[in-house]
């Protein structure tokens, strides 16, 4: 087997009602769609992933199964799970994930008591900073 | 588990053998005071007998000592061992060492010991064992065993008068032994049954909460036996 990508950062927010498997799935999708893991690279085995995250292996089974069904990965029997990048779906998947992330942001901001206008203002400010290069990608936001 | 029980039984034996240590001191004392009377051989013989009696009692009374001291009943009951296996692992090493010590004592003291002390040692061992589950202090166990010994002794009289009616010749060696064994059985069978029933159904709850059946058998047995003996003694005053 090829060497697996072991450096994918996944943090599960225990305080979120989003189920753990969903969070892990999204994190992996994000890593794949953003090119952090490339086509043909191998993911950690079910057991390795469960150990790394200290989660129930059934959760990882669910994640890998769903990712496989959605076409993000494929399994080679006895050889592990590999990333597949379907160019035709790439755009659509990316857009869906963008929508999920945005909806998540909006609901959390609403919970905090900010209005839609507040959000637009803040986004404009931060987007401006990002254009000017003063906002670094991946800056932790919590 | 057997290995641990053998180790425990050996420890009890060594503790009992402390009695033998008394012998050299007594000898020294004898020499110092230079008094006639006791000689070393009879001191040693008495020492052996005392040790044998002590071990008979002590090995039975301490059968659950490691579980009590180490709070290990819960662990013990979590093991895949039947109650039968557990009790055998506990009793066999102790009984084995008792036989060994008895054999050594017989060598030192003579065959007469075997006849006189054999049944007594058996009684001490079994009584202390059967009492150990219902009684928490060794001292109280000792009192209980003392009581049972008295009942055993006193029980001889009614039996001695009843047995000839069944054709047992009491003057023969065997006749006497039969009386001994029946006396023993009448006493030990109910106690043994109480012990086994309790231990068979025991779990890791506090022992105090699980002794209802035990005392329901033991107390009436004691009361009945004592009553019978007292009644017999009244009806047949000594000397008749």
């Amino acid at each position: 087997m090829n060497k697996a990508r072991e450096d994918i950062q996944i943090r599960i927010d225990a305080k979120s009602a989003v189920p753990a498997y969903e969070q892990i799935k999204r994190a992996l999708k994000l890593a794949i769609l953003s090119g952090h893991i490339r086509e043909g690279e191998r993911l950690m085995t079910l057991r390795e992933m469960a150990l790394k995250l200290v989660v129930n292996p059934n959760t990882i089974i669910k994640v890998y199964e769903q990712l496989e069904n959605e076409g993000f990965i494929y399994s080679r029997p006895g050889a592990g799970y590999y990333v597949r990048l379907d160019r035709s779906k790439f755009g659509r998947e990316r857009h869906e994930l963008f929508g999920e992330i945005t909806r998540d942001y909006i609901s959390r901001a609403l919970d905090l008591g900010y209005s839609g206008e507040d959000m637009l203002q803040e986004l404009a400010r931060l987007a401006g900073m990002s254009l000017r290069g003063t906002l670094r990608k991946g800056q932790p936001d919590d | 588990m057997l290995r641990k029980e053998i180790r425990d039984a050996l420890k009890r034996l060594v503790e009992s053998l402390v009695a033998l240590v008394v012998i050299p001191f007594a000898y020294i004392g004898d020499k110092l005071i230079s008094r006639a009377g006791l000689d070393y051989k009879s001191l040693l013989q008495s020492g052996f007998v005392v040790t044998l009696l002590i071990f008979s009692f002590y090995s039975g009374a301490t059968v659950f000592q490691s579980e009590r001291k180490d709070r290990a009943f819960e662990y013990l009951f979590s093991l895949p061992l039947t109650r039968r296996k557990i009790i055998l692992a506990k009793v066999l090493p102790r009984f084995g060492f008792l036989l060994l010590l008895g054999g050594a004592a017989t060598l030192v003291v003579g065959r007469g010991l075997l006849e006189e002390a054999g049944i007594t040692c058996l009684l001490l061992f079994c009584s202390s064992l059967f009492l150990s589950i219902g009684v928490f202090s060794i001292l109280i166990n000792l009192f209980g065993v003392g009581l049972m010994y008295i009942i055993y002794l006193e029980g001889h009289l009614p039996l001695s008068s009843a047995l000839p009616k069944f054709g047992v010749n009491l003057t023969s060696r065997h006749g006497f032994l039969i009386a001994d064994f029946i006396s023993l059985a009448v006493l030990l069978i109910p106690f043994g049954a109480a012990f086994w029933l309790t231990f068979k159904n025991m779990d890791a709850r506090p022992v105090k909460l699980q002794l209802r059946t035990y005392y329901a058998i033991i107390l009436p047995t004691l009361i009945i036996l004592v009553t019978l003996i007292v009644a017999y003694t009244r009806a047949h005053p000594l000397g008749s």
Binding site: I12, A14, K15, S16, A17, V18, P19, A20, L46, R47, A50, L51, L53, V54, V55, N56, P57, N58, T59, D111, L112, G113 | M1, L2, R3, K4, S66, E67, K69, D70, R71, A72, F73, E74, Y75, F77, S78, L79, P80, L81, T82, N201, D203, A204, R205, P206, L209
Partner: protein, 274 residues
Amino acid sequence: MIDIAGLSFSYGKTRVFKDFNLSIPDGQVCLITGINGVGKSTLLRLMAGVLRPDKGAIRFDARLGPDPRRKIGFISDSLSLYESLTVSEAIALHKSAYGLPAIDDALIRHTKIGSGQKVRELSIGQRTILHLELVLSLAPEVFLIDEIIHSIDAYLRRIFLEQIVQLLAKRRLTVVMVNVNFHDIEHLVERVILLKSGEIAVDETIDALKAKVKKVSSRSAPDSLYVLSRIDYEDHSDFFVYPFHEGLRGTLGGEIRDLNLTEIVSAFIGGEYA
């Protein structure tokens, strides 16, 4: 599979369970929780066979054999062992009782527990690791763990949890855990059972529970929902509500927050102490 049917049990005069029923399927990781003294440890001990039911029965899958204790790994909160024995004597006793050829003592050596040390001389963390090693060595089909996670340090805790994940990945292991703190174990758990007065008050999957229990912060109580408990502040109150569903999100005034498992169980329990 663990099948508890018609279980009744009392400690002396205190009745803990009456006609209690619970069924845990093979391979499930189940959490049992509730206030202190409600009977969680008692239930675990009954499952381990260390306590015997007054009425009813606890049945295991046939593949555990005639004496299920042979395949049950039980770590109790009292960490009961023969304390006068040395570590190697304790291991030998365990091996012979279970008929095991060998015990993998990697963990024990790793935590530098001396084989000549008496069990009573070990710290709680070391004793927990010893127990874990003993229990893992019998390749259990059922793993019963009572609240011991928090008596060991974070490093040992991680090792302990990784061992459980390894076992879960390797075989069809049924795990029943008793805990009142869930920080580390939250992501291992599939099913949450809350005991109240000897009965099952809540029995949900962890995902369902997280969707159904929310915190609502507002000035007045949400009237369409059942409030489990509340915390009052100067200008508002936090209401813990159950069962929540997404359709209600728009109708409730105030801020709605998701909760982690510790907060959810506190919400259920908080009502009992009020």
